[in-house]
């Protein structure tokens, strides 16, 4: 501090820390002097793209602006907190959020993925909730690329290793392969938590004199990576310059931390709480302070260290895992400490809430930080970056997969071969090799998980009330049209949740894009955000939170825009959930929705022709909304026994999956469908038109079912009958018969052959 005044004009390493000249200048203006090195460290991490959302903020505002009062009705905590909270009825609330850990997982797949799970779980804990389930949307390069072999097994083992050890069921996710992710695998992780309404906690530091407690793991030099190495080399302080760029997770410590936090919440000894994630203490202290009474005094030398050589700048930036920060009334300190002791969790009073409006941090008797906390946490730079629709998009959209350009199968034999080829293709084959590494049973509340359309978990054991969640994104669609692609991701997740029988309630998203400094990428980003915001408005479900991951690119080549959308729905009783496979011979299989010639970005074009071009399927959110109403009514009133949504790979893939689910065959006829929709069997089987599902209806329910569809004016057609033959098969009449044994062998072989 003194130093900063004396040596006011010393050259500071702001550029090496990633700050722009005008950003550094602004810091000087805010403080009225040059920042100390600790202040510089704090501003630089908090004003980074990752923490400040400086490129995305102007667009993300739409989520709030396009949320109506009606949509806010069930929203108890909205965007801006660690995670959004929604009311699911009976005094229960759930909180959920998806986050990315892409780059760390590329550098060290196991630890990167593991700490990705750990981070999102702490976000959920910090709302006062018990984490109850995990989903992991993953994206990799081509399945046969050598680096995919390096990255995938480690990432899957990391997600499993951490999640399994925490005792959280993994109830869904995605595994997608595409060469665009070769140097940029995406590891997104979603966590859901539940709590009673009165248990909601927020991240704020109020009440002068209240104590600020850091608890959990000791602080090491983890995860400050490049920034830290630079920092320790350039800062005036001494200290070894070798700091690990890799964060190592300790899931056991986090499990204990979860139970400890829940005991602390139950004992009502926590006023405010914040997890330590990106930007570590810099983030936790500045956010708690600025969301509260605005002042905090911290004695940084009280922070328990794993590495005693850390400098104050490094302590402020460290991203060591498994730490939390709580604000506690002095009269409850003993009760707090009794609970942390019982769980053998180290807890240290490191600071105090003040009313000075300043965040003051002391290190060995010297003030190293004295800033208005809002300027660190919330008033970072905001950029309205240039955007431009990529010039190449017109040609891409013009390159439609018409029949004169891509040969289409016509005979029964060709259609059968095509179906098999898709069923064994990397993006449509069985995910069991991955999901078998995840515990889906722990907690005993999982009603649906892989391979059904959505994960479903019970929240209330007495009533059976629970939630369904699905995450989706077809980035090939988003590459063709980011606005439509983002809405298609929303539509698919929404449809999946409804297919399982739940009423969609809220949305979270993880926006994975390339560099915001590329106007083409920025345009894609803006389109996708607008698409989601408009779509949510139309569907009446609010975005409650999410995450932005930019700079996912190799050289100048960005990944396809990948706006992963997670939809959460509620069910009064999860035992009414609808599985994706049929079981009873004689039940009638209906196709709900209309099929058009829509093959742009389809699995067929990709798998068979390696083609991407044209326009994605048409979005019809009103149709999705009505379809969802039907599906929820069907589940509630027991009108369907199974339902499966149509997405990648169209009807053919849905039929195959519904057969394989329980090993029960089906007899299907397509003539009426072709006639009604004016299509041929190929389109009937492989088109990816949206707002469609298949459902298996008991004969006794057929009238009610068709009435429900008719009343809502939704196209529906009997296309088959469940058929439990001695040798079960997928039989498309007049075209082909595919024994399930053969289908299963193809479907199951791909991932083990590549990775086992």
């Amino acid at each position: 501090m003194q130093q900063a005044l004396v040596t006011a004009d010393i050259e500071q390493p702001w550029a090496a820390l990633g700050l722009k000249p005008d950003e550094y200048q602004r810091i000087r203006e805010i403080l009225g002097r040059r920042p100390t090195s600790s202040e510089l460290a704090m501003y630089s991490v908090m004003w980074s793209e990752h923490c400040s959302y400086k490129s995305s903020k102007v667009h993300l505002r739409q989520f709030g602006e396009k949320t109506t009062d009606a949509m806010r009705e069930k929203l108890m905590v909205g965007i801006g907190e660690n995670a959004g909270v929604v009311d699911i009825g009976d005094g229960w609330a759930v909180t959920f959020k998806v986050e990315s850990h892409n780059h760390p997982s590329y550098v060290e797949p196991y630890q990167g993925a593991a700490t990705g799970v750990g981070g999102i779980v702490r976000d959920i804990m910090s709302m006062g909730a018990r984490p109850i389930a995990i989903l992991d949307p993953l994206r990799f390069g081509a399945i046969d690329h050598p680096d995919t072999r390096r990255v995938l097994p480690g990432i899957v083992a990391g997600v499993g290793g951490y999640g399994n050890c925490l005792g959280l069921p993994n109830i869904g996710g995605e595994v997608v392969f595409d060469p665009c992710y070769q140097g940029n695998p995406l590891v997104n992780a979603l966590c859901v938590g539940s709590m009673r309404h009165e248990d909601i906690h927020l991240a704020n530091a109020t009440g002068a004199g209240n104590l600020v407690i850091l608890f959990g793991a000791k602080t090491g030099g983890d995860g400050i990576g490049g920034v830290s190495v630079l920092a320790s080399e350039t800062f005036e302080s001494t200290g070894p310059s070798k700091r690990p760029a890799v964060q190592v997770g300790d899931p056991f410590a986090e499990k204990v931390l979860i139970e400890c936090c829940l005991d602390l919440f139950a004992a009502k000894v926590v006023e405010g709480i914040q997890d330590l994630g990106g930007a570590g203490l810099s983030c936790a202290t500045s956010e708690l302070a600025s969301n509260g009474d605005g002042g905090m005094h911290v004695w940084l030398d009280r922070v328990p260290l794993r590495d005693i050589t850390l400098s104050p700048e490094e302590i402020l930036m460290s991203e060591s895992q498994e730490r939390m920060m709580a604000v506690v009334r002095p009269d409850q300190l003993d009760a707090f400490m009794a609970i942390t002791d019982r769980w053998a969790v180290e807890a240290t009073v490191v600071g105090e809430v003040t009313t000075t409006g300043r965040l003051v941090i002391e290190w060995r008797g010297e003030t190293v930080v004295d800033v208005p906390p809002r300027t660190v946490a919330h008033d970072g730079p905001v950029y309205d970056r240039p955007m431009q629709r990529p010039a190449t998009l017109d040609a891409l959209q013009a390159d439609a997969p018409t029949s004169d350009r891509l040969a289409r199968p016509t005979t029964g034999e060709q259609l059968r071969a095509t179906l098999l080829q898709l069923a064994g293709s990397p993006n449509l084959c069985s995910r069991a090799w991955v999901t078998d590494q995840y515990d889906r049973y722990v907690m005993g509340n999982t009603a649906l998980s892989m391979p059904d359309d959505a994960g479903v978990v019970r929240v209330d054991e007495t009533t059976g009330r629970g939630v369904a969640i699905s995450t989706d994104c077809n980035s090939r669609f988003a590459a063709l049209d980011p606005y439509a692609g983002a809405q298609l991701a929303l539509a698919e997740a929404y449809r999946n949740v409804a297919t399982a029988g739940a009423t969609p309630l809220a949305v979270t998203d993880c926006l994975n894009f390339g560099s915001p400094e590329d106007p083409g990428v920025m345009w894609q980003f803006a389109q996708a955000v607008t698409g989601i915001a408009d779509g949510c408005l139309q569907l009446g479900v609010p975005v409650t939170g999410g995450n932005v991951s930019l700079y996912n690119q190799t050289g100048t080549t960005a990944i396809y825009p990948t706006p992963v959308v997670g939809v959460l729905g509620v069910m009064d009783d999860v035992t009414r959930r609808t599985p994706s496979g049929w079981r009873e011979a004689g039940q009638v299989v209906y196709l709900v929705g209309t099929t058009r010639d829509e093959l742009g970005g389809s699995s067929w074009a990709d798998v068979v022709h390696g083609h991407l071009g044209g326009l994605p399927p048409r979005v019809d959110l009103e149709a999705e909304r009505v379809l969802a109403e039907i599906l929820v009514a069907c589940s509630r009133d027991g009108m369907v026994d199974a339902a499966h949504d149509l997405s990648d790979g169209g009807l053919a893939t849905a039929l195959a999956e519904s057969c394989l689910r329980y090993g029960v065959g089906v007899r299907v006829w397509l003539d009426e469908l072709c006639e009604r929709d004016g299509i041929d069997p190929f389109l009937a089987l492989f088109s990816e038109s949206t707002a469609r599902v298949i459902a298996s209806v008991p004969r006794s329910e057929e009238v009610r079912f068709t009435d429900v569809c008719t009343a809502r004016g939704v196209a529906h057609l009997r296309i088959g009958v469940v058929d439990e033959a001695a040798e079960p098969a997928l039989d498309v009449q007049g075209l082909f018969t595919l024994p399930l044994a053969e289908l299963r062998a193809t479907h199951d072989a791909t991932l083990p052959a590549a990775f086992a």
Binding site: V107, A217, P244, V246, V248, D250, F252
Partner: protein
Amino acid sequence: MGRVVVEVMLKPEILDPQGQAVLNALPRLGFDGFSLVRQGKRFELSVDGEVTDEVLARVREAAATLLSNPVIEDVVAVERVG
């Protein structure tokens, strides 16, 4: 038949939850006075013939690429035994 031992430890700055767990358990069993425990790996590789210098060089390379992850681990020993 010859043997080579390769020893790999986590880099000192990397968190070692296993070592930490052992360290915490020791005093509970009455073993006091330990200040740090780190847990690493020990590989024994058997070769068909003798352990020549050439073999040792190959093992050293395998140690650096396959047996350890240089991002988080150090190879602390590659030695002939027996």
